[in-house]
Symmetry: C2
Subunit: 196 residues, 2 copies
DNA sequence: GTACTATTAGGACATTTGACCTAAATTTCT
DNA sequence: AGAAATTTAGGTCAAATGTCCTAATAGTAC
């Protein structure tokens, strides 16, 4: 296997294990075993655990950018794009109930570890925030676009945390519907049907 | 020192360290050092780390009950009581920005560790949920009291997570105001001033 | 008071685990 | 073939968990 392929394999496995088990609880041996590599080979590619974390975060940033682009391609309507984001918690419901939101839980863990990469991990949130803000701006809410974006992010994080803690599927569906409703209420009147 | 006092001291220190550093990242030695005990003595009181976790969760349940009672004593108006809850994130802003919500982050960590105590930890959420639902019921929303309670919990969790990740104080204040506004909008019209 | 017993405290190991390192073997490329 | 890149199989070292043993203290029976 080529070096970059092996490296990619390590990052991919580490990404999943960091999400499923947490960063601290995942050892070199865990990743090496799942990737089918020796521990030494592992060290050939990454000198320290911090380095894998950085690579995983970089991969998540790239994946997020790709996802946002796909949503832009999939819908020209900004409202529809925002809904694409809001509905992640339903599409990934099973995983979220088992392990929470990948971004939120990693940020929380790194905060407790006082790990320098916390800011990098939060970069994924910034990516979502700015993208959401763009969509709100396109809907005519330039003034408070960022606040609205953070509000949507906040709700998705709250849903994820309670979904993990309580495992209530009805709650998740209900709250996503509530986001949809809230979104409609945010539209300037001129863009809504006349009868409202 | 008496046995129960020593035990209480251990639980108190463990409670704080589990919050600040996380459960996994906190070792017996950490707790013993901060509590001023030897490791051997420590084992006299708690045979395993799980046992300390259980005691910490039990203590948090008790503390939460006490806090809820104090809010009941402090305000006869259910709306005011709910506000007491919603404003925790402002009162504890500094701690939340550093270490997140104690309940949410513990549940997330235990979920990833597949630790059996996750359900116990989530019990604190259930405590808050039921108490909030009681307040909403007292406001005339018996039908959807639990859904409203979970909505408030959800928002406080989302605020905590983003506060930790992004460290934005304005965001926290804005979203707490938004909860206050939302709360007022939930009141049946009859209980609101006539001009609305 | 003395002997006995239970509780509390302290610390010395033994075992395990995980991060990190090295040198030899193997593969790949030229 | 020979150099370079890659992989493997070990091993080291520190930290964490968990066990065991000893000593001090306090209470109790006589």
């Amino acid at each position: 296997m080529s070096a970059s392929a092996t490296r990619g394999q390590i990052v991919s496995v580490a990404d999943r294990l960091f999400y499923e088990q947490g960063y601290e609880a995942t050892s070199f041996a865990d990743i090496a075993a799942e990737a089918g590599l020796s521990r030494g080979n592992f060290y050939y590619h990454f000198k320290a655990k911090d380095a894998i974390l950085e690579a995983v975060i970089a991969a998540r940033m790239a994946d997020t950018r790709t996802m946002l682009e796909s949503w832009e391609d999939g819908a020209s309507d900004p409202l529809e794009r925002i809904r694409s984001f809001a509905h992640i918690v339903i599409r990934n419901q099973a995983k979220i109930m088992a392990h929470g939101c990948p971004v939120g839980t990693l940020c929380n863990e790194l905060a407790k570890l006082e790990h320098g990469a916390k800011g990098d991990a939060a970069g994924v949130f910034v990516l979502f925030r700015d993208w959401l803000a763009e969509q709100f701006a396109a809907l005519g809410r330039e003034r408070d676009a960022e606040a609205l974006a953070l509000h949507v992010l906040m709700r998705s994080q709250g849903i994820a945390t309670l979904a993990t803690a309580l495992g209530d599927e009805d709650f998740v569906r209900r709250e996503v519907r509530a986001i949809d409703q809230w979104l409609e209420d945010q539209l300037p009147a001129v863009t809504r049907p006349l009868q409202e």
